[in-house]
């Protein structure tokens, strides 16, 4: 018999695991205000699309990520050959991502959607970093403003975010 289970509560499981290992409680970000909300200005088929992914993707020839609160990021041309994409990440099983980067960086999928006309075009560059940054302050003060600036400068109509 097929049994379905509810979605994993990663916050609770992290709490259980840390407490089982004798570590202090990790405090996940809890936003106390609703997010801003902006509607699309045109149909998806006319939109210029940006991609930001946190699965530790880099391109052969770029510096890989390190595993201690790395707040750097990489500029990845959306014309990069898929076989030149690499993965460095400490917090998830990267086996499938190294075989097929599209599982965390859907670049071929998006290129296909442009070809079939479902979305207008891809921005020249995607941006990648490595999540698992313990310090929410570093994300808020360093990475977030940088990506917001890039989204405006790149004249994006929408951004697809792919965390791990």
């Amino acid at each position: 018999m097929a049994q379905t289970r509810p979605p994993i509560d990663y916050i609770q499981r992290t709490r259980d695991q840390y407490s089982g290992l004798g570590y202090p409680v990790y405090r996940w970000v809890e936003s106390d205000s609703p997010p801003e909300f902006v509607l699309l200005k045109k149909p998806l088929s006319e939109c210029r699309v940006g991609l930001i992914a946190s699965g530790g993707i880099y391109v052969k020839g770029q510096v890989a990520f390190h595993f201690a609160d790395d707040v750097s990021y990489r500029v990845v041309s959306t014309e990069t050959e898929t076989e030149d994409l690499r993965i460095a990440h400490f917090a998830y099983d990267v086996t499938d991502a190294r075989r097929d980067p599209n599982v965390v960086f859907p670049i071929d999928t998006l290129r296909g959607l442009v070809r079939e006309g479902a979305i207008g075009e891809l921005s020249e560059n995607a941006y990648t970093f490595m999540g698992g940054i313990y310090s929410a302050r570093k994300v808020r003060e360093k990475l977030a403003p940088e990506f917001a600036r890039r989204a405006v400068e790149d004249q994006l109509d929408l951004v697809l975010l792919v965390p791990v």
Partner: protein, 144 residues
């Protein structure tokens, strides 16, 4: 990533976050999200299944047109496997040596937090170090 989504949207650009961790997404509360109930590391679909990867993105992107209120989450209806059994072992204690009298314990299965870049291949490291020496790798942005 939710903090980044909120910042981009505050700058006037609509965002949608794919996610496989619903509780974390709800806590950070990004403007729009699409939840795929898969094991971590497959946020955009299963490896090499181009048709399903395409459908997942189409379903998610539709959220830009169907989500009408801040914090809306679409639940994508795809299951990783028929019985969801993969969920039972994620971040759960294990019997450490298989003996029946052993208590179940949590394993610290996290990778050490190393300060040096962790290259996928040795060739990557050689190429990156050459690029750094040549021009500092302009597509590598260090914010520290």
């Amino acid at each position: 990533m939710g903090l980044i989504a909120r910042a981009i949207e505050s700058a006037g650009v609509p965002t949608l976050s794919l996610t496989s961790a619903l509780s974390i997404t709800r806590s950070v509360n990004p403007p729009r999200a699409a939840f795929l109930d898969y094991p971590l590391g497959h946020t955009a679909g299963p490896a090499f299944d181009r048709a399903l990867q395409r459908q997942i993105l189409l379903d998610a992107l539709a959220g830009f047109e169907t989500i009408r209120a801040p914090g809306g989450v679409i639940e994508l209806g795809y299951a990783w496997s028929q019985d969801d059994a993969w969920k039972d072992s994620v971040m759960r204690p294990r019997a450490s040596s298989g003996k029946a009298d052993q208590q179940e314990t949590f394993e610290d299965d996290r990778t050490p937090r190393l300060n040096a870049p962790q290259y996928q291949t040795e060739e990557d490291q050689r190429l990156a170090e050459a690029a750094l020496a040549r021009d500092g790798c302009p597509t590598c942005i260090f914010l520290d």
